[in-house]
């Protein structure tokens, strides 16, 4: 932990407030976060237009390649997301303890559940004050695991399985992800689930952005700037 010891004062003698800060999100985590955000937007947009294509293009087929470009963008963004997901998993092992948080839910811990409940109360206006957290609060950890981490793996796996339909039975994509079609013999089901997965992630994005903004204003620590600088600032010096 590091925090500033000096108290700066301006010309009018007004003193700056003392604020503790902790380095939480390391550079790889922050880069992953923003690359992922961009990939999700790209994938959702192009994916939606693959399911419900834009109005027909006029002219000869040879002069148009709109659907081709949309699909290419989707596949490219998907590959980027997959590679960054692998790097992120790697970083969960070698990074600091906060890098591991979104990959598990400590269901065995009684303290986790009591603090989880407190956080629910805070969001339902029953608790007066939220607790302080260096990393994610228990409710955030819970939501991220079930609405981002799991769905992301699901989307990458089903995505590559669907991609393997085009690349063929001899492709490495089919060798690695063809087992999806042993669970769902009709790939139409995989298309539908992949589509529903998009809506799960989009719903999360809505909640995520709202809560990040709200917490930044209401809670006792910084949220939004932390994902840019990596530093978590605490607004008061009270414990907990």
């Amino acid at each position: 932990m590091s925090y500033s010891e000096t108290k700066a004062a301006d010309a009018h003698g007004e003193q700056a407030i003392d604020r503790k800060s902790v380095y939480v999100y390391e550079a790889p985590v922050r880069i992953w976060h923003w690359v992922n955000a961009l990939a999700i937007v790209t994938l959702a947009l192009t994916g939606y237009f693959i399911g419900s294509p834009l109005p027909s293009q006029p002219g000869e087929a040879s002069a148009n390649f709109l659907m081709g470009y949309i699909r290419f963008t989707h596949f490219a963004a998907g590959q980027v997301m997959a590679i960054f997901l692998i790097l992120r998993v790697y970083w969960a092992f070698v990074g600091n303890k906060h890098a591991r948080q979104i990959f598990y839910v400590p269901v065995w811990s009684g303290r986790f559940w009591s603090e989880w409940l407190h956080e629910v109360k805070w969001y339902t206006f029953l608790a007066r004050q939220p607790k302080k957290y260096v990393g994610h609060n228990p409710l955030a950890q819970f939501t991220m695991f079930f609405m981002v981490t799991l769905p992301m793996f699901f989307m990458v796996i089903t995505g590559f399985a669907l991609y393997s339909e085009g690349t063929g039975r001899d492709s490495w994509e089919f060798k690695l992800f063809g087992w999806v079609f042993s669970i769902f013999p009709n790939s139409q089901d995989v298309h539908t689930l992949h589509h529903l997965g998009m809506w799960v992630i989009l719903t999360f994005v809505m909640v995520h952005i709202y809560v990040a903004v709200r917490e930044d204003i209401m809670s006792r620590q910084s949220i939004i700037s932390s994902m840019i600088s990596g530093e978590r600032l605490f607004k008061d010096e009270e414990d907990d």
Partner: protein, 360 residues
């Protein structure tokens, strides 16, 4: 004695010249995707191997597989039935009937133990001890199990035998069950389609009887040579798909120009079959060529995936008929409204607590 007779013997006895025989071998080898060496291997096999007896049974089905089969052009079904295989039993098209016909089953079972092919069209219903399909005085499921015991391999003809098809569609009152869920200890080859393409059927029979083994199968147990690609991948309208040119409604300009039928619910992108390459009726046409989308008849549970004319699947698990987008939009709408309400309460709370603090 029939047991020592080779295919070649029979073919020659039928008055077919060696030249025609060689031609047949190269044509069939080509249709199965083999190189020039394949034709030679086929010739050799047909000249040296015993004829393989085939027993063709019918469970719950509509006989569309048989109808398709007898229309095969390459090889001609006459060649397949008369020269290639000894179709010893097929209750729909055989001359014998009653006890005489059933006696053939007993005889084949004994004489060709572990050597005959059991081709099954349709599937057995399991509800009420199989009483929904009685064949020769016994439930079909018993007859099937009995004949499967000594078979070399089983061919599951069509969507019925492979997946269940219409009689297994929800709510499936007779509990119609595909073959591979009933027979577990025999190699099973699925040849799905409603019906399968004639050339695919004869191609599969030719392969098995010639080489005495099943062709290479995919994860779902279908022959790779005919079911490894989607209709979409070899569709002649694919350039229109990539260009983003779609039929928006029946009889519009796009339909007249032969644009892609994706928006009309074509199931080509999720259907594995050879329609877009082999086509139907001797290569004349196939559904997409005649202006209608693929309905995915060779896929698992194609009756239960909503309308044939919708791109997005109907999902019934949610109680009402809805697709992924309708469900997603509703969820996003509810969450969005929740966020707005939550933000409003937060703002009000904050103002009132501040006022309390300043008052105090």
């Amino acid at each position: 004695m029939a047991a020592t007779e080779t295919f070649y013997d029979v073919i020659r006895r039928q008055g077919i010249t060696r030249r025609s025989f060689t031609k047949f071998c190269s044509l069939t080898a080509a249709s199965l995707g083999f190189g020039p060496a394949g034709a030679k291997a086929m010739e050799q096999a047909l000249e040296t191997k015993e004829r393989v007896p085939v027993i063709w049974m019918h469970g719950l089905e509509c006989t569309c597989c048989s109808e398709s089969f007898i229309r095969s052009a390459h090889p001609l079904v006459k060649d397949v039935v008369l020269s290639m295989i000894s179709l010893d039993y097929d209750d729909t098209i055989m001359a014998a009937a009653g006890k005489q016909a059933e006696a053939i089953l007993e005889e084949t079972k004994q004489k060709y133990k572990g050597k005959y092919i059991l081709a099954v069209e349709g599937n057995p219903p399991l509800n009420e001890d199989g009483m929904f399909c009685i064949d020769g005085g016994k439930p079909f499921v018993e007859k099937l199990k009995w004949m499967a015991e000594d078979a070399m391999a089983i061919i599951a003809w069509g969507a019925c035998a492979s997946w269940g098809c219409v009689q297994a569609a929800k709510p499936n009152p007779t509990q119609a069950t595909p073959i591979d869920k009933v027979i577990k200890d025999k190699p099973i080859i699925k040849v799905p389609g409603c019906p399968p393409i004639a050339e695919v059927m004869t191609g599969v029979v030719t392969f098995i009887t010639t080489f005495g083994r099943l062709p290479e199968l995919d994860r779902q147990g279908r022959p790779q040579m005919f079911y490894s690609q989607r209709i979409h991948d070899k569709c002649y309208r694919r350039p229109h798909f990539d260009a983003g040119q779609f039929v928006e409604e029946w009889d519009d300009e796009g339909a007249r120009k032969g644009y892609c039928l994706y928006k009309m619910g074509c199931k080509g992108p999720t259907t594995y079959n050879a329609c877009s390459t082999v086509r139907w009726n001797g290569g004349v046409s196939f559904p997409i060529q005649s202006g209608h989308g693929c309905i995915g008849c060779s896929e698992d549970g194609f009756w239960d995936k909503g309308s044939f004319y919708d791109r997005l699947t109907t999902i019934n698990q949610f109680g009402i008929e809805a697709n992924a987008d309708q469900i997603g939009r509703t969820a996003a709408g509810v969450v969005g409204a929740g966020i707005v309400a939550h933000a409003a309460i937060t703002a009000v709370k904050r103002v009132t607590t501040k006022r309390e603090k300043t008052d105090a």
